[in-house]
């Protein structure tokens, strides 16, 4: 369903690596990734657009670095933006979006360098599709470089010859101070970039101002900041799913909302009060 351009538009996301241990698994690192895949192009050309649900298999993948072995993992997807276009007189106006019907955990260990791939299923009906998706990925990893030749004695302080001397401590403090200053500058630059970007998108696009739905396109665009340490992530199409299984529940409206192609368009309904009316 999504295209590979989402990989670059995901903005790199944010990455945490936390030393951990896990019961029953020889792991020493928890890798947590979060990000947004944003501003997907209209992708339904050539796809069915009527009022039935159409499902496709999709995968979410992230890199496992060389020297790492991912032994367990899970991923989460959510809608961060939805785009929907109205349809013609003789077509349905029913619409639906599922950024994720289900998403399996990591099925088997992955030895880096390779990709940890999570399989799932997405769906749409009508002329609607996810404009943006929020993603998180959690991997439990054994990283060989974190395993010392001889482990330290548990709870013991390092022996004197392994402790840092005063001059080394001074240099380390200076490095840490510099790193903190650079981090502050990076934060300020990213904040400035976000502000400028938001201002640019807030200005009306003269080329689109004449179209009635121009304003609705702006909120779908959001660029997340990029960290140098960020991993890459991609969303890729795979072959269409076979017959739906038990996990394809939630299709109550799929049968109920079917319309005949020749049905006349519905008349405008009275607008109901909303959350923001109060």
């Amino acid at each position: 369903m999504p295209d590979a351009s989402a990989a670059t538009k995901a903005g790199g996301g944010w990455l945490l690596e936390v030393p951990i241990r896990a019961p029953g698994l020889p792991v020493n690192l928890w890798v947590h990734w979060s990000g947004l895949a944003v501003n997907w192009p209209p992708r339904f050309f050539g796809y069915p657009q009527e009022g039935d649900w159409h499902r496709e298999r999709a995968t979410v993948s992230t890199q496992v670095a060389e020297g790492d072995v991912a032994l367990a993992g899970q991923a989460t997807l959510g809608l961060s933006a939805v785009r929907r276009d109205t349809q013609g007189l003789l077509d349905t106006d029913d619409w639906g979006v599922s950024c994720i019907d289900w998403l399996d955990p990591l099925p088997a260990p992955v030895v880096g360098p390779n990709y940890a791939v999570f399989s799932g299923q997405m769906a749409h009906r009508g002329r609607a599709w996810p404009g943006g998706i929020s993603l998180t990925i959690d991997l439990l990893v054994v990283r060989k470089s974190l395993i010392p030749a001889v482990p330290p004695v548990h709870g013991a302080t390092p022996p004197a010859h392994q402790q840092l001397g005063a001059s080394t401590v001074k240099k380390a403090d200076a490095v840490n101070d510099t790193r903190a200053a650079l981090r502050r500058q990076l934060t300020e630059l990213l904040a400035t970039l976000e502000t400028v970007t938001a201002r640019e998108f807030a200005e009306p696009d003269p080329a689109r101002a004449a179209t009635p739905d121009a304003a609705s396109t702006a909120p779908m665009v959001r660029f997340g900041p990029v960290l140098p340490q960020a991993s890459t992530i991609g969303l890729y199409d795979v072959a269409p799913a076979a017959a739906p299984d038990a996990r394809d529940r939630g299709d109550r409206s799929e049968t109920e909302a079917r319309r005949t192609p020749g049905k006349a368009p519905t008349s405008p309904r009275r607008r109901r009060p909303t959350n923001t009316d109060a």
Binding site: I20, P23, D68, C99, I100, D138, H154, R269, T274
Partner: protein
Amino acid sequence: MTVPISLDAGTTPPLGVATPCRLTVFVGDAPRQLLILSGVAIPEWRSGGDLDRQEVVIRLGVTTTPQYAWTATVSLAAISNDDTDFLFALDSTSMDTDQDGTLRLHVAIAAQGEPADLLRFSYQVHVLSDPVHSLVSGLISWPRQFGDPTYAVLQGGDPMFRVEVGETVPVPTPGQQFQQTTFVSACPAGLSSKPVAAGDLWVAAYEVDNVPLGRQWEVRPALLAGALAGPPAGYLASPGFQPMPQSAWLTPSSPAATGVDFTMTFIAPPR
């Protein structure tokens, strides 16, 4: 007040939850237990036309200690609408435990449309607590040059190491010049998990549960017979473990030691 929609990620098969996932890790020193829970909830709920609200309760299928901290993130996953004004919302989340201690995630949802279906939402929950029970755990690694685990370990699920927690006590030996000692276990021994190859190392995890609190204990691993296809010729058959001794001291405020690691080595005697 409508009755909450009840879903259960802990049953087999799950009730109204697609692909519930759970990761359990220990973080920090002293270690704390972190649960990472995620899944796709399937409330399949329909608005009647007005801005309707509903509570969804997801039993997460895990228990934790009475004192815990949590975060929860929920996102729309599947929505559907006719050609009407619509609104879909996940308004709030909260967490509590059931009478049996099972964690429950409460999510307030809302929708408006004629009809508007909030079919699915995804959730991710982090729960930080003390370890549920006292334990000593760690990694045992060894260079692949010393040999690979046997088929019975890699494919048959046999354990590779046995790890005991206890203390060395003197044995009364009247009349003898040198005092003898013996190792007395403080709790049932733990066994290692299936080893994993990480580059030129093999790594296995072990865990010893229900370790008594309040005393310093020795931790002693042992290689089980028939578990290693090795060592190669020229090495003594019996391995050594470094560092030795390893010890752990558990207390009520720090009831787990999770980084008690060892390296297995073999010695080649001089010729």
